[in-house]
Amino acid sequence: MSTTAVHSLWTTAAEPLDKIPAPHIEYAQLAPTLIVVGAAILGVLVEAFVPRKSRHYTQVFLAVVALTAAFAAVVGLAVGGYGTTKAHIAAMGAIAVDGPALFLQGTILLASLVAVFTFAERRLDPAAHGKRVDSFAAQAASVPGSDSEKAAVKAGFTTTEVFPLALFAVAGMLVFPAANDLLTLFIALEVFSLPLYLLCALARRKRLMSQEAAVKYFLLGAFSSAFLLFGIALLYGYAGSVSYARIADVVDGTVQTIDPALAGTMGNDALLLIGGALILTGMLFKVGAVPFHMWTPDVYQGAPTPITGFMAAATKVAAFGALLRLLYVVLPGLRWDWRPVMWAIAIVTMLGGAIVAITQTDIKRLLAYSSIAHAGFILAGVIAVTPDGVSSVLFYLLAYSFVTIGAFAVVTLVRDAGGEATHLSKWAGLGRRSPLVAAVFAVFLLAFAGIPLTSGFSGKFAVFRAAAEGGAGALVVVGVISSAIAAFFYIRVIVLMFFSEPKPEGPTVAVPSPLTTTTIAVGVAVTLVLGVAPQYFLDLAGQASVFVR
């Protein structure tokens, strides 16, 4: 081989390196995510460098400021027209900046903000060794019941890492519904899932249960991620690309071949159908749809209650956002294949959640099953495949997340010697002793049940109307029947609180700091405003209902 040939090989091999363009990143449009990620990283540094005494306040401050700033950035983008006319795909096709993404990001940020208030609450647990403590383990690494745990409690340690962890999770959730290719989707999923697994294990009381929940969540989450990843591989095989737009083009038949290496598999519908179904599995796991729901009750019950509220609200918003984008952008050409299947899933989810909830005796498990039933209701809106379907789902998620966080915040207040008194029998007669707390909880339950003048009604009405107009009348009938079944167990709790005799050794209602009070008050306010005057927000969701492609 001559030297020129060697040289030529060398240069040809080197040439493509020069051709890789510098990625074009629209920092301003990614600001919400970047702010949260930055704050999370800063939070890690705070753990390393700020003295233990002032860490709590620093972290709370950092988290609140970051979430507020990120929300302001979302509002700024929306006002700047990125939700409607200027919607486009940023970061080299990885992230969509459009109406649904901004609406969901705004919802996630607001929900996380009020949830962070409950994380920071330190007045509910009786003071340990003269130190105020929050709901999280003194030292997560210490074995429950061990000496090192006792020492950590005695020293008044708290796991302030929850704030950066939560911020990382929020960052993942912000990307998840905006992800515009399958790899970004997968990375976002892992970014928000891994911190959640950890957060679930951090309960101060009932630590074994909490750790069990975390392990289960992790195992099943990993299992579902594997399905998702396999689905991504199959879709890549089908379309030769992970980009949503390219896959959609191949599905529609507008693009024939992309990569000669994949010529054997490209356009093979079996790959598309199986890959699509596997990706759906991953999404449905996160939203908690039957039959991928079984982790929900155990994890909701075991996780520290503030985390449960955060997770139940924000994860659901993010996961439904991603599901919407997947079904409306990537697979609309396949709707005749996936709609019947989703119909069946929506029906079993609504009925399953509602029916199993009837016999629950733990308030957190009850709310978990309720969240499953609600996932079914939202799926009914997803199935509509109309702009109304999108806007109704967006509205429902907004309404639902505040009710959920509020309800779980109330759960943190009702306590006895063993921590939170979550067994329903202990809630008997709560209305006699703490009328205000019971009344607030009743408002949330009525909203869950979908009684008019609460946000639950407006939301349910919107999704059912969208479903009916989208040709899913039968689904609406099932939805209404499930709502009737669900109303039973919500009202049963209200009856229990107000019309049963209080037990002599019943739990006490802790007096929260303004933090939790704010969370609950915001929850009630949003619930009532969205119930009494929902039109503005419905219009807002309507404007935000077009996906960029």
């Binding site: 159908l273 039959p291 079984m294 299947v341 199993v356 016999t359 039109q535």
Partner: protein, 634 residues
């Protein structure tokens, strides 16, 4: 002023905010709550005055303002608007409600001084005002209904405010239940309206009466009348009013003068277009009005409880208004004019009665009063002016408004006119009689004071300034309002663009009617003087004639209700309960049990093992894939 319509919502919002703050605020507001409530009622009044001044600045047919806040989930043709309409009719009510309402708030500061639940009381008072303002400001029947029910709720809370007394709790329940009957009428009327006109808004509904069959309009009119009977305590739904005296006296003043009972008159006047086109419904309205005005007057004659005597008088005076409203365009303006003047003097009388009770250890039996004029001079004078106004003493408010109604009744024409006019005249005579009786038994004659439960004789004294100032202000209204309204027919001209107005053609000249009215008034006063002024009043009531005994029992209204409605209802419910137990419960419980069983079985799937969950997921995915592929294959 530009954009004055943006202020309308503030009228409702201020007292509503007060109610929210006071009821949610808790004990930390105990010391300031009453002033917050009073201030917010006053804010509403000030806004009302501003809007009134603004309204006067515009020509008569351009005075209506609209404010649309938002629509509640429009679905097809179903449009539930939260929107307000402020025209001359609403303005009149708003001024009365907020003005008299604010005075009653102020009075309550003194009256409820020693009540430990005073903050809550003011919260309810504010809620009452807000609901009533919503009722008169709504621009559609659906929103009006919201206010209507709000009034019902607030009255329930206030009548039963002293819930530790079983009688108060019962009275509140009674008021609520009787009102429900009327509410049913209104709700059915609204449904009928929607099916007939396809909308709830006043404009389209009342503008479309020309194209609607008379049968529908008559049905609507009768249903609206039923509603009005409930809220305005007209026969046959009058029975709650007397018992409602169990509430604190300011509540009685509020219910009787500014809110609640006037709602029925408002509803009929507002729906005038429907009644104008349905003569049969109008006949029903005037009949109800005439019967009630006599009914209330007769009951008023026999009561020894000062508040119940006044309650009878309210019933009777509202009867006059309903009668006038039923006369059509010749009567609407006078109905509202009497409503306003009545608002002044009846509020004054009730506050006076409260002041007397305040000084007499909460004694309400007039047979145990007597000679109080020396001890409570301000109360005596203001109550006396209210008294002169209500009996229609020439020159005072009640004279002008009542005289006009009697005239209009005669002007109805034919036999009807004579009967209605005669009833109204007779009512005027009886009014003079029983009000003179109240006056004489309370302020004149011997002291007949009795020791109270603790054995203490009362020490009557004048009430504190917060109580006397409202009474004085109201007395001014009682004296001058009527004259002011009649000056060049100013009130009629003011309302004409909304209610329309025609001069009635009475078979008797106006002078004859006026003379007759004054004559029967003098007759009534003279009879009362002969019976109660010249002779000593026995402390224990005499047995009395059959009519007196019946009147003491409210003309047997409760006995009638008990025999016909309660017993009948019991039989009906018993049979329904039987059907419910055997048939409905069987189905319902069966369904519930099967779901419960299903739930129990499904729950077992949730066994706590992660491996089971994973297998379920795996199975689910397999089914999902299989189903997707199958869908393609089919």
């Amino acid at each position: 002023m530009d954009n004055a319509e943006n202020l309308i919502a503030l009228l409702v919002a201020a007292p509503l905010l007060g109610a929210a703050v006071l009821l949610v605020g808790g004990r930390r507001l105990d010391r300031t709550g009453h002033w917050i409530g009073t201030a917010l009622a006053a804010v509403s009044f000030v806004v009302a005055v501003v809007l009134f001044a603004d309204m006067l600045g515009r020509p008569g047919d351009d005075r209506t303002l609209y404010q649309h806040l938002f629509s509640w989930i429009p679905v097809g043709g179903f449009q539930a608007d939260i929107a307000f309409q402020l025209d001359q009719l609403s303005m009149t009510f708003v001024l009365l409600i907020t003005g008299v309402g604010s005075l009653i708030h102020l009075y309550s500061v003194g009256y409820m001084e020693h009540d430990e639940r005073r903050r809550r009381f003011f919260g309810y008072l504010n809620l009452f005002l807000a609901a009533m303002l919503l009722l008169v400001l709504a621009d559609n029947y659906l929103l009006l209904y919201v206010g209507w029910e709000g009034v019902g709720l607030a009255s329930y809370l206030l009548i039963g405010f002293w819930q530790h007394k079983p009688s108060a709790a019962t009275a509140a329940k009674k008021a609520f239940l009787v009102n429900r009957v009327g509410d049913m009428g209104l709700s059915i009327a609204i449904m009928l309206m929607f099916t007939t006109f396809g909308t709830f808004a006043f404009g389209p509904v009342l503008g479309a009466t020309g194209e609607t069959s008379e049968g529908t309009l008559t049905a609507l009119g009768l249903l609206l009348l039923l509603a009005a009977c409930g809220k305005s305590a007209q026969v046959p739904l009058q029975s709650w009013l007397g018992d409602a005296m169990e509430g604190p006296t300011p509540v009685s003043a509020l219910i009787h003068a500014a809110t609640m009972v006037t709602a029925g008159v408002y509803l009929i006047t507002r729906s005038g277009a429907i009644f104008n086109a349905a003569p049969d419904a109008q006949l029903a309205v005037v009949t109800v009005g005439a019967v009630t005005l006599l009914f209330g007057a007769i009951v008023g004659c026999a009561k020894d409880d000062i508040k119940k005597a006044l309650a009878g008088s309210t019933m009777s005076q509202i009867g006059y208004m309903i009668l006038a409203a039923g006369l059509g365009p010749i009567g609407y303006a006078f109905a509202i004019m009497h409503l306003v003047t009545h608002g002044f003097f009846k509020a004054g009388l009730f506050l006076g009665a409260g002041s007397v009770m305040h000084g007499m250890n909460d004694e309400v039996d007039m047979r145990k009063y007597g000679g109080l004029r020396k001890y409570m001079p301000i109360t005596f004078v203001t109550f006396g002016l209210g008294y002169l106004a209500i009996i229609g003493f020439p020159g005072l408010s009640g004279f002008f408004s009542k005289d006009k109604i009697i005239e209009a009744a005669f002007a109805k024409g034919g036999t009807e006119g004579w009967i209605l006019g005669g009833a109204a005249l007779l009512g005027a005579a009886i009014t003079a009689f029983y009000m003179t009786r109240v006056m004489l038994m309370t302020f004149f004659g011997e002291k007949r004071w009795q020791p109270d439960d603790k054995g203490e004789l009362p020490h009557p004294h004048e009430s504190p300034r917060t109580m006397t100032i409202p009474m004085i202000v109201l007395a001014f209204g009682s004296v001058f309002a009527g004259g002011l309204f009649s000056w060049h027919e100013s009130f009629v001209k003011w309302l004409e663009p909304v209610t329309s107005f025609e001069h009635g053609h009475s078979p008797l000249s106006a002078a004859t009617v006026t003379t007759a009215t004054v004559a029967v008034m003098v007759l009534g006063v003279a009879l009362a003087y002969l019976q109660y002024g010249r002779r000593p009043v026995p402390v224990t009531p005499p047995r009395g004639s059959l009519l007196t005994r019946a009147a003491r029992r409210d003309l047997l209204q409760d006995d009638f209700n008990h025999v016909v409605l309660v017993r009948g209802g019991e039989h009906l419910t018993r049979s329904l309960v039987y059907v419910d137990h055997s048939l409905v419960d069987g189905v319902v419980n069966g369904t519930a049990a099967s779901f419960g069983g299903l739930s129990g079985r499904l729950r077992k799937l949730q066994n706590g093992y992660a491996r089971t969950y994973a297998v379920t997921m795996f199975g689910g995915t397999a089914v999902l894939i299989a189903a997707t592929l199958l869908m393609r294959a089919v």
